[in-house]
Symmetry: C2
Subunit: 900 residues, 2 copies
């Protein structure tokens, strides 16, 4: 006996079921599933996917017996619907759709209203008393059939339509009268005849046969084959063909159509939500020509259908365990469900639905966490512009830090500070920002830069502060002297009002009304669900007690990266830092001379370097006091949670001024010659500072700096540590490339710590670890692990070096690279798993091969990016660390990875 080829669904019973997706395709299996559930979907049948395979092995001809089986199912369909194929008095019309087990563009589109012919049209006009509608669907059917099934280009029909409109002197299709449409049907038939060489088929079964052939044929269309190749879709039998009865909501006043949701998609409230139209088609609801009615009104107009619908909504939500978006049609009082799918929803609704459904025991925690997208969560954390407000967008840049901001333009950090102090709201506009701008950035509502990428200074700092930032707006040209910027022919002056959308990367003139984010109780409940599910810890990158406190609010479980150098710029400190730098090389020279000298020469050397020693050690002493206070503040804010402090990382020249005025100020302030300042700037200049004298390399040359920092950390920890909230500082040494380098620098740090502990007579647990941010460190991680208590992957630098991309310089080409698809995503936003990811994997494997329980985290900008969080989870990291405002997103992403 031949295999069963066709599966019927209708009259509350289906021959297929959801699990038969491979055989019936996704759509077919779904229709069967709904039918079996008792949902009144219009009846129909599915020709199984293996028939497509048979068709091809049979030289693209129907296998023997298929025709009979299709005929039999048409009969069943006629019975189920109480209509007849080709019967002018009560015609059955059907849709024909392809549907493989995997959704796949490139295959045949839908053909609707199959079964129409001249006789049926006449009958339908009589039935509906709506000739305009009937002629319109007829002409559309001829067009669709001609194009999709027979390959006669749609444009040919379109030309006739244009001609008809011109002749009727109307602009829109719907302005054509019934007569004009009837005429158009005749033109369409002629076009069909001319292009295909045959008359438009009048027999519904011929039409159906042609449509089924077209579906089979589309399985091996060029586009479909290409799509399967690209997406590596293999082992599919073929496509199924779904033939389903059409129903109409526009056949009279006892008909209607509508869309409803099982919960409110805006708020997530559990309430009936939706709208409908009487005597209308689905597209009328969408088109907005008539105003739809509220769902409740249906209970009055068609109480039976309404009651049935409400019951079905409950059933469907319970079955699919998610909020459903349902399309329905009522044809002559009979309710049909055309489609149900998981409903789209706002961020707030997504959170509320997830939380409520857990409370209702509809879904478990691990499902709930998949119901909110990380990007949605981001929207809940930042202000946004009123979506209805008009926007005068003058330029676009990179969406560097999400949110929205409105303020008056200022061009420097000092003005930002001053105006903000007066209570003004300001937008700081800079060509690019530098560490000196930090306080001004803090004072501003938002930041706009002309240059720089997603990981430029402005972007990184703004995200850390949770401030809106639009970066790298190449179209604008900032002129600090005239205190203006231009974009095209427009000029924006200091004090002008500007609106920034950091989520979209838009710059608009004037003041767009802001909508503040609402953090509902549901948000906290949802995050608690995430925390129950996830395995990965989430820390934050925070450099100040304020940041640390904010991050704790967002649920950070520690600090993964506390950058000490940002502390070096504040207030008086920079002068001590500069003093230190000026003396550093001489101090190193002194040490070398002393080491090589006889005892008797030592005194002379010491005398020669007396000033150097005083300046260098004096500056260190001052900085020690400052840093100790910084760390005390951070330890206090984190209340015993782990804090990873990275020792000094940037090259020293970053702390020296480059412009003439600041250099002059430095000379006068430090009472030295301007020439000496200039000489030092020149001496420290680097061609590629990214790959220069920075990180632990500085500590090899000037070990006293790391010693000072280590002392500050340990002294602060000793002061703040209590039996209840033990402070366990984690000291992180940056830019290690070779284990000997780490060993040497670590030995200095440990020696200093031992001195502090000895003097204090107290005990303190501390850890010393390293960043893995140089490719060589990842490649030799087994060696490095022997000297490290923990690893933290610095994926910003690792990306720069692995890809050879200076993030400050790729602006000239990265846009084109992304547009042309050379890289699918900006590697500084989404971790490049195929390249950098391999090094991360190697680093973890080697590290753990040497030290099984090595604690491993990530502290690059990628640490808050959902795909990267998933990758970190897969690789078995212990934690991710990200800017405070990304912490909730990382918690969610971590939970989602845990259930993947």
């Amino acid at each position: 006996m031949a295999e069963k080829r066709v599966y019927f669904f209708g009259s509350k019973k289906a021959e297929g079921k959801a699990s038969m997706k491979q055989l019936l395709g996704g759509k077919g299996a779904n229709l069967a599933e709904m039918t079996n559930l008792g949902v009144p979907v219009p009846a129909g049948f599915t020709i199984a996917t293996n028939v497509c395979q048979e068709y091809y092995s049979n030289n693209a001809k129907w296998p023997a017996g298929l025709e009979a089986e299709v005929s039999k199912n048409i009969k069943k369909l006629e019975t189920a619907m109480g209509k007849k194929f080709g019967d002018p008095k009560n015609p059955l019309l059907v849709s024909v759709r392809s549907g493989a087990a995997v959704s796949m563009p490139g295959m045949m589109d839908t053909v609707l209203n199959l079964g129409l012919n001249d006789d049926v049209v006449a009958g339908l006009i009589e039935m509906t008393n709506n000739p305009r509608f009937v002629y319109d669907i007829y002409r559309r059917f001829i067009d669709m059939y001609g194009d999709v099934v027979m390959g006669c280009k749609h444009e040919k029909f379109e030309e006739a339509l244009e001609a008809a409109k011109k002749k009727a002197k109307v602009e829109n299709d719907n302005q054509l009268s019934a007569e004009q449409l009837a005429e158009l049907v005749e033109s369409y038939k002629k076009i069909y005849k001319k292009n295909i060489g045959k008359m438009f088929p009048q027999k519904p079964l011929d039409q159906l046969k042609g449509a089924i052939d077209a579906v089979f044929g589309s399985w091996n269309s060029e586009r479909a084959i290409k799509y399967r190749q690209i997406h590596k879709i293999e082992n599919l039998l073929g496509t199924a063909v779904n033939v389903q009865a059409m129903v109409f909501g526009n056949m009279g006043e006892d008909c209607g159509t509508g869309v409803c949701f099982t919960r409110n998609p805006s708020t997530g409230e559990k309430e009936l939500y939706g709208e409908f139209l009487i005597n209308a088609q689905g597209e009328d609801v969408v088109a907005g020509i008539r105003t739809p009615l509220e769902m409740k009104k249906l209970s009055k107009i068609m109480p039976k259908a309404y009651k049935e619908l409400v019951a079905l909504m409950k059933k469907l939500e319970k079955h699919y365990k998610d909020m459903q978006d349902i399309e329905f049609t009522i044809e002559q009082k009979k309710l049909y469900i055309l489609q149900t799918r998981n409903g789209k929803r706002t961020a707030a609704a997504a959170v509320k639905c997830a939380v409520d459904m857990v409370a209702e025991k509809l879904i478990p925690n691990k499902v709930a966490v998949t119901r909110v997208m990380p990007e949605q969560l981001d929207m809940l954390l930042h202000p946004s512009f009123d979506s209805k407000a008009k926007r005068d967008v003058i330029a676009k840049g990179l969406p560097a830090s999400p949110g929205a901001a409105v303020g008056q333009v200022v061009f420097d950090a000092e003005t930002a500070d001053a105006w903000a102090a007066e209570g003004k709201k300001v937008i700081l506009v800079r060509i690019e920002t530098s560490p000196e701008d930090i306080s001004g950035m803090h004072a501003s509502e938002g930041i706009l830069t002309q240059r720089g990428g997603m990981t430029s200074h402005a972007a990184v700092v703004a995200r850390g502060m949770g401030k809106c930032c639009v970066a790298g707006v190449g179209e604008i040209s900032v002129n600090y002297k005239t205190r203006k910027f231009t974009v095209g022919k427009k000029t924006v002056k200091e004090g002008d009002w500007l609106s920034l959308d950091g989520t979209r990367g838009e710059v608009a003139m004037g003041q767009i009304p802001l909508v503040e984010p609402k953090m509902s109780g549901d948000f906290a409940k949802f995050m608690a669900i995430c925390d129950k599910v996830r395995k990965l810890k989430v820390r934050t990158n925070a450099d100040t007690p304020d940041d640390a406190a904010a991050a704790r609010e967002f649920g950070a479980e520690g600090i993964g990266l506390c950058r000490t150098e940002h502390m070096f710029f504040e207030g008086e400190r920079i002068w001590h830092v500069r003093s230190l730098i000026l003396a550093a090389d001489d101090y190193a020279a002194m040490k070398k001379e002393l080491a090589e000298a006889d005892k008797k020469d030592a005194a002379a050397i010491k005398k020669k370097y007396a000033d150097t020693k005083k300046n260098y050690e004096g500056a260190l002493k001052k900085l020690l006091t400052y840093q100790r206070k910084d760390f005390e503040g951070i330890f206090k804010a984190m209340k015993g949670l782990p804090v990873t402090v990275r020792l000094l990382d940037p090259p020293l020249h970053e702390f020296l001024p480059n412009d003439a005025a600041s250099q002059k100020e430095m000379a006068s302030r430090l009472k030295i010659k301007l020439k000496d300042v200039k000489n030092m700037v020149e001496k420290l200049h680097e061609f590629n500072p990214m790959l220069g004298h920075r990180g632990c390399r500085l500590a090899v040359t000037y070990p006293e700096i790391y010693r000072m920092q280590a002392r500050a950390i340990i002294e602060a920890a000793l002061k703040l540590s209590t039996p209840k909230n033990k402070v366990i500082p984690e000291i992180m040494i940056p830019l290690v490339g070779e284990v000997s380098e780490l060993a040497q620098v670590k030995a200095e740090v440990v020696d200093e710590i031992k001195q502090v502990l000895k003097k204090s007579r107290k005990k303190l647990t501390y850890k010393i670890g390293t960043m893995i941010e140089i490719p060589r460190a990842a490649l030799t991680a087994d060696e490095i692990a022997n000297e490290a208590d923990f690893f933290s992957f610095g994926t910003n630098d690792l990306t720069q070096m692995t890809l050879g991309f200076s993030r400050d310089d790729i602006g000239r080409f990265i846009g084109q690279y992304l547009v042309e698809g050379i890289y699918k995503e900006d590697p500084f936003q989404v971790l490049d798993q195929n390249g950098v990811g391999k090094l991360v994997k190697t680093g973890i494997e080697l590290g753990r091969s040497a030290k099984k329980r090595l604690k491993i985290g990530i502290c690059g900008e990628h640490g808050g990016e959902p795909k990267t969080v998933a990758f970190c989870h897969e690789l078995g990291m212990n934690y991710v660390s990200c800017s405070p405002y990304r912490v909730p997103i990382a918690r969610l992403a971590a939970a989602q990875s845990a259930v993947k």
Copy 2:
């Protein structure tokens, strides 16, 4: 029965042999070997290494039976030497030495003249009639025994010696009289007593027992244990102890001592070479107080010993199959061989010996290639300073390019050119060099720079030219304005004579006499032997026809790297390059506008950009003509050998002038505003140019540049290719990090090539490959291999990115890193196998996994460095490519790796 513990050697028979190294230690096995060969070494015995183990398992006591066995062997020794231990009339004196299977510092030094005591001293004085000598060896023995065996510091004895000299009012030890020495012996005995608490042992057997104990003890000294740990020496039983009879060449006129070589160590000639002294000790020959006699004279003075020696020399060379350096002593007419070892020799001698020995069939080719060190070969290729001349060294820098040079100081390339044209010899002194200096560098004898490392522009170019270069001499301070440089308090003016030693990195005042290299016929013969042995091909890095021709002379088998950008600076070309750069961005903008515009707008856009188009395309056309000529020259010089051309690599800003004067010149020359020049310089400025807009990234933005270069290459190849010498150009795309990037750029290049070939109606084989110089390229080499005909590892950039080291900036710390051993070698000179090497290995494995026969080479500066060549051989590369003057070295290194 207990295992044999002691192995005797003497009277032409030994109980051990060479293969018993594990048991007898290296020294013991060698002495046995020589004895068995019939070489008259002073007799002795070896206590085996397993006895050391027994000693330790026996609580650091002699195992039972050892004392008896030692006594027995002392008897045998007395018989063999015809002397007696402790016999004043005919005393046997011995040396005691440690000796494990692996040579290992940290163990006990030699104790000489063991067996001396007061009685023996008296007897010896009678025998030799030389009390001074006898007292001197006695006092030395007490010192050595006290220090090495008993642990009484040598300094204590030294104090007494100083006191004696002061008292005698003499300066040197050898000015002390016999009486004074006799007195000193008594002082030494007292010191011994005082520090050790016992009298100095008078019984020779007691002395021997003490010395043997000391050898055993030294096996587990801290230093020895540490050494074994560091060098991972495991599985050794312990140390052996060698006890050997002393012989004296200073016991009368029938005694003597000398050193001889089996071939001339200066020239390699096969002739008797050496010198000797009658009635003297070995140290007298070395000390140079008496003038030694030529070997031939020995045939007159002691014909029998002479004849025996000559026969032994032949025997030893034949046995050890290498030139021998032999120490001998004649004691009362009897010849003893104290030591034979492979003789040190000059570079020229090494080459001649290797070639001659192959001709004599003494050694096969694969041994011959191990007999010359690659560094020696380097010396043969460059001039050097007369080793006897005095040097007034004023500063030291990096030995950036080997050789020596003498010339008058000039401070810019133009002056170098001009003075050289007048026939003057010049040394070009620059702060650092840039591509604009190339012609001036060519005109100079040598180059001296204040800044820059081993791979700075000056260093790389100088090595390519085979010019001597001393780079990065931080001590000097160059002032272009005053045309002077200072070093300390010294000032050197333009026109002053300077001598540079590029092999040592020295800068000296005045004119040191030069010795020109002699390239003997043996050199060519030796290289031919290398070529027979090696498997790795050797190509060269050459950018000009001259370089290419030079490299062929040195045996290059192709060009592995022809950099096209150096060609961009010459003469008129730079102006066209600058024209191109000025128009490039507008040209790209025009293309974008045209692509997006309607047809009707196209004309307006074209009109707007008419000048841009003219300038851009005009410049390309000019450059095409130049480049085609360049490639024709190179293809011609290489006569059908493969030539790999790398397309444009550096960032465009390298071609723009940075100083005000040159910018002004550019503006006037190109008839544009100075402001526009400055704007372009600023626009193209990069923070980290190494990681910026360069390499194939330029071709993504400006595909026309690579198209022009590809056209020039193919047109030149078509012109030069003949059926006999087919030109097969290999086009290399630099800085690829992702396969899509290569695919896109390659598609443009291939399209251009197809156009050229179609028009020419000729066929041509060409290859398109890529550099692997970005870590990501190595990590995704399997993907990249699908688009590449070959890989060439660019290990300069790969090192920069893998280590995070900008080679232009590491000057501030790399010195310290090397001194402190953080890196054992400069990673830009010797490939960092542990880090970068892993990426190279990964790249090769992945590449060949996708394309089994993928051709792979290396073209970084490392390609001519012997250890790296060996590494490339091991990894299965097809070729290395290096600068012309390194080609012979690479050929040798490749041969040595093949026999490893």
